[in-house]
Symmetry: C2
Subunit: 359 residues, 2 copies
């Protein structure tokens, strides 16, 4: 029996995607081989890879002057690859510090550039995104980096920062495909696949053409955007099964009606869960309402000693992985694209019952 899996990532995948991958795991398209056994340079896989990219381009309405790259090393790898590709040694780079992930990106970038934190939400314990227009972008910065959604504390930007001529770089790992996004506002977007798109081990980079060709000589070839763009992300062997799976997820999102439909569903799911939490005296969420994540909903119980029981009892009823991140504790429900509204409703029903029994 399949469960409702609230894991923050690797996370729940659409069942039709998994079923298709299972059905053709030993014989892909009548080839007598698994998709993971064929050459990445063979016609069949090259077409599969190109189709995944084309579907993503259509879903996100990616303009023609952006390249889409399929890289290894996760978003954490991009914490190093972005400064190596976009900035020279000694360059200043602006950062918005809004939680654990943006902080990690800053720490890694410090190896290669001079980070300048122009908005820091740590003093408020990371409970909101900075207000639109409340920070000043340095016009000489090589780029501005931010994390539109912080998965650990559930803080999400409700707007895209305006940065003028300074390229905007965003880690969209946990929100890509969750709602429409205007790609043309970004210089570069990167996203690990394991939350909203597929399996871990694959990272998608969407980069504007004019930002290619700036990589410093010490950039590893497998992360050199220009080289990878020139080789259709196959300078080396890509994670073929992961790429194939991305294509299946992209088609599934298309079948759901694309990003507008996805956004409406995700808003409805988030509204239901936050609405229930706000209406309760037993559960609480500390994030400022305009900065609440649609994807990751952390919450606390009035009696913290009940947390373990909550997680265990939920799991026993088929609602799994509800423990908060080990660095903050509490509970967290990650409700990415693949989580149906029925899963959120089942969680709310369980929360009600748990409160009735223990409140």
């Amino acid at each position: 029996m399949r469960v409702y899996n609230f894991s923050a990532g690797p996370a729940m995948l659409p069942e039709p995607v998994l079923a298709r991958a299972r059905d053709e795991l030993l014989d892909w398209g009548g080839s007598g081989m698994s998709v993971m056994e064929v050459s990445h340079r063979g016609k069949a896989f090259v077409e599969c890879a190109a189709e995944a990219e084309a579907t993503l381009r259509q879903l996100m309405a990616i303009p023609d002057d952006y390249r889409v790259l399929f890289l290894q090393g996760g978003a954490f790898g991009q914490f190093a690859a972005v400064p190596l590709n976009l900035a020279a040694e000694g360059d200043r780079v602006d950062f918005l510090s809004t939680g654990d992930w943006s902080a990690k990106a800053i720490r890694e970038a410090r190896k290669y550039v001079v980070p300048s934190v122009i908005a820091d939400e740590k003093p408020g314990n990371y409970t909101k995104a900075p207000a639109d227009g409340s920070f000043q972008v340095n016009p000489t910065a090589a780029y501005l980096h931010y994390t539109p959604n912080e998965t650990i504390r559930g803080v999400e930007f409700g707007y895209v920062p305006a940065t003028g001529d300074v390229p905007l770089v965003a880690d969209l790992s946990s929100t890509i495909l969750s709602r429409p996004v205007n790609v043309s506002k970004f210089g570069l977007i990167y996203a690990g696949a394991q939350k909203n798109m597929g399996q871990s081990g694959m990272c998608v980079v969407i980069v504007r053409d004019d930002l290619l060709g700036r990589a410093r000589p010490t950039t590893p070839a497998v992360w050199n955007y220009e080289q990878m763009a020139a080789n259709d992300s196959m300078l080396n062997t890509p994670p073929t099964f992961g790429w194939y799976l991305l294509g299946l997820v992209y088609r599934w999102v298309q079948d759901q009606g694309g990003l507008s439909a996805m956004g409406e569903r995700n808003r409805a799911k988030a509204d239901a869960l936050y609405g229930f939490i706000d209406g309760s005296e037993f559960y609480s969420n500390p994030v400022q309402p305009d900065s609440r994540s649609w994807m990751n909903v952390p919450f606390l119980i009035a009696r913290p000693e009940l947390e373990k029981a909550f997680v265990a009892e939920a799991s026993a009823t088929g609602l799994t992985n509800l423990a908060g991140h080990r660095s903050v504790g509490g509970m967290r429900a990650s409700i990415y694209n693949a989580m149906p509204i029925e899963g959120v409703q089942a969680l709310i029903d369980f929360m009600k019952e748990f409160e009735r029994t223990n409140g």
Copy 2:
């Protein structure tokens, strides 16, 4: 119907491994989740990951003072990561140049160190490994790097070079697990998984403890051996499905009798195919007999205009991916662990019949 797939990588996998992965793709161990949907920090996956490592340690008899890392970015990523971790800027590193892959490793290393090619087989068109003892290791080299098996031209070392106190570094992507190896002779072994161990997107690094802690400050965290070792290769999210699949392949190798049995099987397969080629006037292999690869067998036809027909007709009879690498042409049969002797025999039978019809 499954075929005999002679792809050089991504390559054929053992059918029982694929069948098991298929059977539990939507429900791993009764969890109601796919293994690719669960958190890498959850108990179930941590155990699965540890078991894969333990099985590999047992198979290769890896000494206790070696760490095993599961990294992203492929062997090509390690072309950069090895010099960043093991050598300071300006350090000399010795290289044996025996084919296209060692040449690529040298080109990438040049970004970080001063490569010194102490044996170069290019003048002989890469048709043999240098003779044992024919090259001089520089005692001040940070390490010596070589490629024990060159997949494109099918050249394999029949010995492990002696390097004294200079750490020996080897790219074992295409020979790992194909026969017993004395790990204690190496400072560091790395291997992409997609030839003999699993799916692309995963790279295994086996490194001696005393080589940790030398990484230069600009080493990306996801490739920093010391940091990765301290975090059980989970500083960031690893390719969980790829790791799980490694574990299944490792157990399959164990079921086959381990590396001694694997080595006997692989020697028999290679002997049969080279024996047939050498006994024919129609087919030929240019590699010096003592340097012939057990894993990759390139061969030519006396009438090169028949190459396309050979590959197409072979494919039609269920012997796929026999075209040589695009850089050298001809044919190539990759016969990794997962290729049974029956597949090699079927290939020989086809080659005989093709010669009879076209010779």
